[in-house]
C-alpha cells in the first residue's frame, strides 16, 4: 500500500477540530505492552523479533478499529516515508530508526497508531485533535482490552504491565498534549510555568518529543510516573494542569495586548514581513515565525486568514514534506529556497496585520 496515498493530506488534517484547539494542538494517550515469554525488542535477536511481530501484527490488524488500516513492516518503508511519519507525529524518531522485525499499523482516520517492536513489543496510541485526553484514554483502553483477548501480555500483580524500561512500568501509560504557547514565551513566563509543571511530576518537552527543542513555541506536556496510580488519576491530573496552562496562556496574551501592544505587533508584523517576502528560509525560522502568525490569527490581526492555513504550512514546510513534494536529492540550501517560494505563494493574498482592530477572536 502506498503510504502517501493513505495519509490524510495536511489540508484535511488541519481542518479537524477539537476543544481548546486554539492552544492545544493535539492529545495523545499511549500504552506500552509486551508479550510474556519473549525478550524485549532491544535485547531480542532478529529471528525472535520477527516472530514477535508476526504474532502481534495480525492481532492488531484484526481489530474492528483497524479495518482498512495501513500496515507495513518498517524495512519496507523508505527513509523519507519514515521521516514524514515522524513529522506528522505518528511514530517516534526511535521507531523511524527501526527496520527488520518492526512494523507500523495505522488506521484510516489516523486516530489509532500502533508501533510494533519499538522499545516495547507494543506501543499503541490514540490520537485526538484539541484537548481530549479522556476520550483518547477511553479509546485506547477499549482497544487494549480487545487486544488482550488475543495476546498473552507480560503482567505481574505487583508491578503491573512489564516494560523494557522501568520508567514505563505499571500502567505503561503516557498521556500527552501538544501545546502552542507563544504568549507565555513572549511574556517570558514560560520557564516558571515549566518548572512548576515539572514539580508536579510532569515532563515538558519540545516539538518532536524527548530531547528536542520547542520549535515554533510548541511544547509537549506528559506524565512521567506510571506506577502506583491508576490511569484515570494520571489522565485527570494532566487534564487539570493543561486547563491551567491554557488559562495562563490566554492571560499572558491578554496582558501583552494591554500592556505591550507595540511589542506584540512588532513581532507579528516582522514575522509576516519575512514569511511573505523571504527568498530563502530555514525550517526552524519558518516554524518560529509561523508560530507568531498563528498568534496573530488568534488575536484577530489577520481577519481573513483561517488558522488552518498556518497549521498546514507548519506541516508542509518541514524537511521531509518538502523533499517529498519536490525531490529527496535536495540540499538544505535548495530546500530553503523552495520553502520560501512555497510560503510566499501561500501568503500572497494575505494582507498585512490589521493592528487597528486588536479585538481578540474567540
Amino acid at each position: 500500500m502506498d503510504l502517501y496515498e493513505f495519509l490524510i493530506t495536511p489540508a484535511e488534517a488541519t481542518r479537524l477540530h477539537g476543544p481548546h484547539d486554539r492552544i492545544v494542538m493535539s492529545s495523545r494517550v499511549r500504552l506500552a505492552r509486551n508479550l510474556k515469554n519473549a525478550a524485549f525488542p532491544g535485547w531480542a535477536k532478529k529471528p525472535e523479533r520477527i516472530k514477535i511481530m508476526e504474532t502481534i501484527r495480525p492481532a492488531v490488524e484484526g481489530l474492528p478499529e483497524m479495518k482498512d488500516a495501513f500496515s507495513e513492516a518498517m524495512d519496507n518503508l523508505g527513509a523519507l516515508e519514515k521521516q514524514i511519519l515522524v513529522e506528522r507525529h505518528l511514530i517516534s524518531r526511535e521507531h523511524a530508526a527501526k527496520s527488520s522485525g518492526s512494523a507500523l499499523v495505522l488506521n484510516r482516520e489516523e486516530t489509532f497508531c500502533v508501533m510494533i517492536n519499538e522499545e516495547d513489543h507494543l506501543r499503541m496510541q490514540a490520537l485526538r485533535p484539541g484537548l481530549q485526553l479522556r476520550e483518547a484514554w477511553s479509546a485506547i483502553d477499549k482497544f487494549d482490552s480487545a487486544l488482550e483477548k488475543k495476546l498473552d501480555y507480560a503482567f505481574n500483580n505487583d508491578l503491573g504491565y512489564l516494560t523494557a524500561c522501568p520508567t514505563n512500568l505499571g500502567t505503561g501509560i503516557r498521556v500527552s498534549a501538544m501545546l502552542h504557547l507563544p504568549g507565555l514565551v513572549l511574556a517570558e513566563q514560560i520557564n516558571p510555568i515549566i518548572q512548576s509543571v515539572n514539580k508536579l511530576g510532569l515532563a515538558v518537552r519540545g516539538l518532536y518529543g524527548e530531547g528536542t527543542e520547542a520549535l515554533g513555541n510548541v511544547f509537549q506536556v506528559s506524565n512521567q510516573m506510571t506506577l502506583g496510580e491508576t490511569e484515570t488519576t494520571i489522565v485527570e491530573r494532566l487534564d487539570k494542569v493543561l486547563l491551567q496552562i491554557i488559562e495562563h496562556e490566554e492571560n499572558a496574551r491578554q496582558t501583552l495586548l494591554e500592556k505591550k501592544p507595540k511589542v506584540v505587533f512588532n513581532h507579528i508584523g516582522r514575522a509576516y514581513g519575512i514569511l511573505a517576502n523571504a527568498h530563502s528560509i530555514s525550517s526552524k525560522e519558518t516554524m518560529n515565525l509561523l508560530s507568531l502568525m498563528r498568534l496573530g490569527v488568534d488575536l484577530g490581526l489577520f481577519p481573513e486568514v483561517n488558522r488552518s492555513l498556518v497549521d498546514e504550512l507548519f506541516i508542509v514546510t518541514q524537511p521531509a514534506h518538502l523533499q517529498k513534494q519536490f525531490s529527496d536529492k535536495l540540499s538544505a540550501e535548495e530546500r530553503d529556497l523552495l520553502r520560501s517560494d512555497m510560503v510566499r505563494d501561500r501568503l500572497k493574498n494575505v494582507s498585512r496585520p490589521n493592528v487597528k482592530l486588536p479585538k481578540p477572536e474567540n
Binding site: N34, K36, N37, A38, A39, F40, G42, W43, R93, E94, A97, E119, D141, D144, S145, E148, K149, Y153, A154, F155, N156, N157, D158, L159, G160, Y161, L162, A164, C165, P166, T167, L169, G170, T171, I173, N191, G201, E210, G211, T212, E213, M225, T226, L227, G228, E229, T230, E231
Partner: protein, 171 residues
C-alpha cells in the same frame, strides 16, 4: 536553568540518567550538547552521560568488587547490561533483578505497587481467589462461634465457587 558544562548559556537539553538507584541530571545548552554529541537522542547512549560529568567510575568499582554479575536465566541479560542500557532484557528480568530494582522504582514512581488496569482474565481469577479467602474466613468464624446454620450456608457458597456447575462434590 544554566548549562552544567559551560555554566553560561541557558540549558535546552535535559538528560536524566538513572543508574542503580541514583538519578543524575545533566542540563546542557545547545552548543555544548552538539559538542558532546548529544543533540540527537537516537544515537546517544544513556551511558555516555557518565562521561559528560565524570560520574559513575566509583560505582563501577563497587559493582565488580561485589563479585558475580547477576544474569537472567531466561534471556541471559546481566546487571552490567542494565547499567549500560537502562533497559531490561525480558519480562522475567523483573524477578531476577527485583532486589536492585526496588530502590530504583521508589525514586522513579509515585508508588511501588501497580493499582491500575489489569488483564480481564487475571482480574476475574484474582477476584475469585479474594472471595474464596473471605468465605473460608467466614466459615472458620462460624464454626468457632458454633453457628452451624451459618457454617452450612457458607460451605454451600464455597462449593458453588469452587465448582460453578454446583455439582455436589463429596469427599
Amino acid at each position: 536553568m544554566q548549562c552544567s558544562v559551560c555554566k553560561e548559556k541557558p540549558a535546552t537539553v535535559f538528560l536524566t540518567h538513572i543508574e542503580n538507584d541514583k538519578m543524575h541530571k545533566v542540563n546542557l545548552c545547545e552548543d555544548c550538547a552538539k559538542k558532546k554529541g548529544v543533540d540527537n537522542p537516537t544515537t546517544f547512549s544513556l551511558a555516555d552521560a557518565d562521561l559528560l560529568l565524570g560520574l559513575g567510575a566509583a560505582q563501577e568499582v563497587a559493582q565488580t568488587a561485589g563479585g558475580v554479575d547477576l544474569k537472567c536465566p531466561r534471556c541471559g541479560f546481566s546487571q552490567a547490561d542494565f547499567k549500560k542500557t537502562g533497559r531490561l532484557g525480558c519480562p522475567e528480568c523483573y524477578q531476577v533483578f527485583a532486589e536492585g530494582l526496588a530502590g530504583l522504582l521508589k525514586t522513579m514512581h509515585k508508588g511501588t505497587r501497580h493499582t491500575g488496569k489489569s488483564p480481564e482474565a487475571l482480574r476475574q481469577s484474582r477476584d475469585a481467589a479474594e472471595r474464596l479467602k473471605l468465605l473460608n474466613k467466614k466459615l472458620a468464624k462460624a464454626i468457632e462461634s458454633e453457628d452451624f446454620e451459618l457454617a452450612a450456608k457458607v460451605r454451600d457458597e464455597l462449593k458453588a465457587l469452587v465448582s460453578p456447575a454446583a455439582a455436589p462434590a463429596r469427599k
